[in-house]
Amino acid sequence: MIYSFTDYNAIKTPNWIGLDNYAKLAHDFIYLKSLRNTMFFVLIGVPCNLMFQLIIASLLNFEVKGIAFFRTFYYLPYLVPMIATVLIFRLFFSTDFGVINVVLDTLGIGKIGWLEQPSLIKPVIVMMNMWAAGSGILIFVAALKGVPRHLYEAAKIDGAGPIRSFAVITLPLITPAILFSLVMQMIANFQMFTEAFLLNKGGPDYASMTYMLNTYNTGFRDFKFGYAMAQSWILTLIILAITLVVLSTSKRWVYYEGGDGR
């Protein structure tokens, strides 16, 4: 904590500079951009991911033969090391040799710079997270299995269609799993580093510069440890604040079987 008030750079002894580090952040263009990018991943990426995981989990909840086989393979990408995931995505999205562009080019549409255009790289990263979302899917599958079947039968007798019974039975009953996944994935997205670093080092034009990647650059590339610590502390406070907000509003929308409203 103390280092964040100094100009420590691992060579000289740190000087006390008070709040200067924090004041500087407000005018640091790349820092502000990295903050905005990270908010994109948390506010847009995470909800997209949760919806995707819920849809896939619903597929895996079908009662058909061989479902275990599908589950095995749906989970597999989660275990693929991030470096391999990044490479696989390059095989598809790279401008020059990516399969998608090879096809588009031949069809006469021309090549699209998926990883070179600032507006496209963040969605590609969100897709990477979707592809590797196995454990999130598994949590939803377990939650869906926990919904008592007799509720669906009762709803059917009352004339509710599949969509309505999903909305009034399934969704409320799996809110604890949604809350858990929401908090975990928000934290993970705030801390995103490896994906952005390996895919395009935060480029193009800082479009995929995540908060942690910028802090890493500040600390370990430029050796401004004091400045980097100030950034870390702000991120920690943001994570703490948002987690607390989510947890405190959760009382209103999360249903607990015990029923004492907690």
Binding site: I67, L79, P81, L87, V103, W131, I139, F225, S232, L235
Partner: protein
């Protein structure tokens, strides 16, 4: 619903499941296909799933452009095995303490331990880095291995959840027969917990093997790199040798995939038991 209707539903469900399978497995198959191609074949249209002819030259090129690769693989293996061993030994002992001792304050300390899981790593990263530099651990494997011997909150939680399900009567019987706490731990709890211990060992091995961040931060000398960090160098050079990169990625996921298919049960149980993403 009549039989025809039900059969249609089943078919629809299979079609959806197969579409999902294509999304999750297709890219992996494409990786396998790419690593067996020559560089020219990767640019061909239409793209071929089964390269003709196929070749293993990508692996040869990979190892000649990364002469240290065998060493990196060995490093990764040694580190991951040590982490795995450390996790099982230390976290199970800590979990035993939380699950079985009568200490009044154990609930308090357990909550503290769980809270440490919530602390974002970036807040400890730079202080840890400076600490390791000061005690001379920077550029050694110690920062990667030693923490696992001090117990990890995630694994303590995993093991404790399981230990709690073992009947206490077994402890009492052991005590009557003259066994102390240590006997209970080593002769009763551990043998009964082999499945969850294996889950812990597998998870910690996989996390350690696939970890990019820690070895990237704490290692400097190329000879000490893990395979994942070494592979990153190749990507960093913007190498256009796509099949070789694909071959490297394949090697990086091979041990994990092998373990996964042999011990799949332990993976899914671990995730459901703790509900956690690594």
């Amino acid at each position: 619903m009549n039989t025809v209707g039900r059969r249609t539903t089943t078919w629809l469900q299979y079609i959806l499941l197969l579409a999902g399978l294509a999304v999750f497995v297709g890219p992996l198959l494409w990786l396998f296909s790419t690593m067996l191609k020559t560089q020219g074949q990767t640019m061909e249209f239409p793209p071929e799933w089964i390269p003709r002819p196929f070749t293993f030259e990508a692996f040869t090129r990979l190892f000649s452009s990364m002469p240290l690769a065998p060493r990196w693989l060995m490093n990764s293996l040694m580190i991951a095995l040590s982490v795995s061993l450390g996790t099982v030994l230390s976290s199970s002992l800590v979990a035993f303490g939380f699950a079985r001792t009568a200490a009044r304050s154990r609930h308090f300390w357990f909550i503290i331990l769980m809270a440490t899981m919530m602390i974002p790593y970036q807040i400890t990263l730079i202080p840890l880095y400076l600490l390791y530099k000061n005690i001379g651990w920077y550029d050694t494997w110690l920062p990667l291995i030693v923490p696992s011997f001090l117990g990890g909150a995630f694994f303590v939680f995993l093991f404790r959840q399981f230990f709690m399900t073992i009947p206490k009567e077994l402890d009492e019987a052991t005590n009557i027969d003259g066994g102390n706490m240590w006997t209970v731990y080593s002769r009763v709890i551990l043998p009964l917990s082999v499945p969850v211990l294996l889950t812990g060992a597998i998870f910690s091995f996989v996390f350690s093997w696939a970890d990019f961040f820690s070895p990237f931060i704490f290692l400097q000398t190329p000879e000490k790199y893990t395979f994942i960090v070494g592979l990153q160098l190749l990507i960093g050079t913007q190498s256009q040798d796509i099949p070789a990169l694909a071959a490297g990625s394949f090697i990086s996921l091979l041990p994990i995939a092998a373990i996964y298919f042999f011990a799949q049960r332990f993976f899914t149980e671990g995730v459901v038991l703790t509900g956690t993403k690594g």
